[in-house]
């Protein structure tokens, strides 16, 4: 009568298989409310298991209230348990695997092939070994002190920034920092002024956090500070060291204007310093933060200088924001895990980090040169590089060209992933003649291949509104 199919080899204990089988029948109604279950002895014999096993299964059903048992009386099904099985089955909804490109000019990717993984592995090992016991518990939403101290001293020796470790807050990367900042600074629905164009992912982070974005145009010098006048916002998001995606360094005059504006309007400046460690022409640019630590929230990350998966970034916070930050972080994700923090602290302490940075700066500089050369060769003077010689991507501008989605798609079909600046524009239509080429993760040979494919795509296709000969002409010799 009770044909329960038992999988004797299964990792699921027999008692749980019995429990599951009976529970299923109770829920789908094939065992009705009030119905008696067979005695444990009966069932044990029927399905050929020990009575003890059946008793354990019954105990589970009793504990969870599926069946009721009273001394002496037989065990019976409880009332009101029937619910229909959920309709349909389950599909595996794993993420689709990404398309592979022959050359992928995606931006913001360091070269993973140059991660000093064995060095880091040793440091991780040491860190784990020497980890004090209490670090395995809840420690601090601010992050490991020794890491904050090392970051502080690195900021000092690399950017001349004098920051107390107590003002540094570790995060799980820059996106995470901006997510918390959005909750920290803007009350729900509050407006934040954002450079336009700006990184589309970061814009989304602000929007998801309930912010409204007020786009502030960027020109060849950076954010147009005068456009902030009369705009009521709670903060300004800016990338003064290397504007993304256009690349200029915000001049001192505008920095001073920004600081004055922030003071007069009692708002904060969110300085995203995402890749200024890689400057090829000269010294790293001094952060806006140094001009007024009371007004600027500085955001730094190790995703580009080390590797993205390390998930460690940091913010330097004005004092008055610090208590609220701790409260928010505590109820967002509590803290970073301790091992990466200890590993990174050791990497900084031993100055091997500085050496790694110099090596990578040299490498990326060479790749940037290779990219400029390939562009020169492919497009003569029909294009120009925008912004400062820094970072892991190059923004290029073509005269009288329009790079629309169809063009980007066409590039993809030809094996090249490339992004238009337009994709990162909040107000569309102003930057359709610009492309973004991330080069940090590409070998010179890959770079040259990518550029030549790009050239062929540009040549093969009349772009909307630009006749073939226009295109060709400017490709030959149009002066900008």
């Amino acid at each position: 009568m009770y044909s329960i199919e038992l999988k004797r080899q299964s990792e699921i204990p027999i008692k749980r298989q019995i429990y599951q089988a009976l529970k299923d029948r109770i829920l789908d109604g094939s065992l009705k409310a009030g119905e008696f279950l067979p005695s444990t002895r009966e069932l044990a014999e029927q399905i050929n298991v020990s009575r003890h096993t059946v008793c354990e299964a019954y105990d589970m059903l009793i504990t969870e209230g599926f069946v009721l048992s009273r001394q002496g009386a037989p065990t019976r099904v409880a009332e009101g348990l029937r619910i229909d099985r959920p309709p349909g089955g389950f599909q595996d909804t794993r993420e689709k695997s990404k398309t592979r490109y022959r050359v992928d000019f995606r931006t913001g990717w360091p070269d993973l092939r140059h991660v000093p993984r064995y060095l880091l592995q040793q440091m991780a090992h040491k860190a784990f070994e020497e980890m004090p016991l209490e670090r395995f518990g809840y420690v601090s939403p601010q992050g490991a002190l020794e890491l904050r101290a090392e970051i502080s001293s690195w900021l000092f020796r690399s950017k001349g920034l004098d920051v107390d470790a107590g003002d540094i807050f570790i995060t799980s990367g820059a996106t995470h920092a901006l997510h918390i900042i959005a909750n920290l600074i803007s009350g729900r629905g509050n407006k934040i002024a954002i450079e336009d164009p700006c990184n589309s992912g970061i814009l989304q982070t602000f929007l998801n956090a309930g912010c409204e974005a007020e786009p502030i145009p960027v020109d060849e010098k950076g954010i147009r500070v005068e456009c902030l006048d009369g705009v009521s916002v709670s903060a300004v998001y800016t990338t003064p060291s290397h504007q993304f995606p256009l690349g200029p360094i915000l001049p001192a005059v505008r920095r001073a204007e920004l600081i004055r504006h922030a003071r007069e309007n009692d708002i904060y400046l969110i300085e995203d310093d995402y890749d200024s460690e890689f400057r090829y022409a000269g010294e790293p640019v001094a952060p806006l933060y140094s001009m007024d630590p009371r007004r600027v929230v500085y955001v730094g990350t190790f995703s580009k200088v080390l590797f993205p998966a390390i998930r460690i970034g940091y913010v330097i916070l004005p004092e008055e924001l610090q208590p609220k930050w701790r409260e928010l972080r505590m109820h967002t994700d509590v803290q970073n895990p301790p091992f990466e923090q200890a590993m990174l602290a050791e990497f900084l302490r031993t100055r091997k980090f500085d050496r790694h940075l110099r090596r990578m700066r040299k490498l990326y500089g060479e790749r940037r040169t290779a990219l400029l050369g390939a562009m020169e060769e492919a497009f003569g003077d029909g294009w120009r590089a925008c912004g400062d010689a820094a970072g892991l991507h190059l923004t290029v501008e073509f005269k009288s060209m329009r790079f629309d989605e169809a063009f980007i798609k066409k590039c993809g079909e030809n094996g090249v992933r490339i992004a238009s600046v337009e994709r990162h524009a909040i107000r569309k239509g102003r930057h359709s003649n610009k492309l973004l080429l991330g080069f940090g993760h590409l070998e010179p040979v890959e770079i040259r291949e990518g550029v030549s494919i790009l050239r062929s795509v540009i040549q093969k296709h009349n772009l909307d509104g630009v006749k073939r000969y226009d295109c060709d002409r400017q490709l030959q010799s149009d002066p900008l």
Copy 2:
């Protein structure tokens, strides 16, 4: 004339020290707009450094727009740069160190002294060594597949839960999971029904995410499902396997009611299974999720079964919520770091995790017994234990007692940290006779000391509204 104080031993390059000194004077106005800087040769002689060094400093000032230079003409200070120094200096605002207690009955702490750290260290080392290169880049907001697969098979063998790895999403712990769920399920300002009492930290997580909390009372069986009728919410937060803090296992009848309610009202059930791995009386309780994977968002964590700092939890998501989840996670903190994930996957794969769990369950069971014994000895039958024999804390109820803040404070002064259930109540006044004792991290001797201190505090102090003799009487023999 230009007395620039140079620290020759400093880690800051001389050129940056010069740059900094000049920049400071420009910003504070002691170098005025239009004023000429000395020639590089002059300055080099005055401060006794190489001319090249001065040139580099000037280049930095030019790049950032603090000074202007034109061929032939002397370098001069740019316009409009003066800003007053920010008022006041900086204090170190490091977090105050926590008070140390002789006995700390805080809840939710596993015993860190039993973390299998050397085992884990080996696995972390192996994980790091074998980590594929692409794992150092941005991988997936869903989490490492091998970890999700191992969690899936562990849920199968330990709880009989049949979940596809594609439905499992890794998080940085349960708080992080609930933070994203709050953004996922509730539109801003939307209402979520929350068990009352419930963990006060989790309540705060929902509130910070912009949710409104609708408290649903809990009785000795768990959440009172009938109280949901007529309440319009987007989700119900519940802890059916071991209600926090009262401890009951939600009976099957109420589970079925919950599922029906969720289906009829087209809402989700958020099942927080924070510590049901530790059941001392019998088998782990089957998750509510198994009753309807379309309606239940299951939240699990490794903070208690391994250690809090690992920052790994997971959610099992209904299919229709998965795309939105990926988008949200991507713009919240992108993903978990890869090393802890790989380490944990290996720990699960080798089944050493199961062994660790069994060991800890035995250990915690003994400590719970020690706590019950100590309470018995100290308070006779003037108290009773609430809820199921599970988890890392014990909730105790005293008859005709009121544990207010003053009492908790007094315990602290006597060296014992303890929490009242009232602290976790949304609607106050219903649970003031209950205390929470976290015991997982305490040795039996610590437990006994803590209880005896608790007893002396209770005896020494007339509590509001309870006369001394009442107190004593019930301490001797009041039957509940």
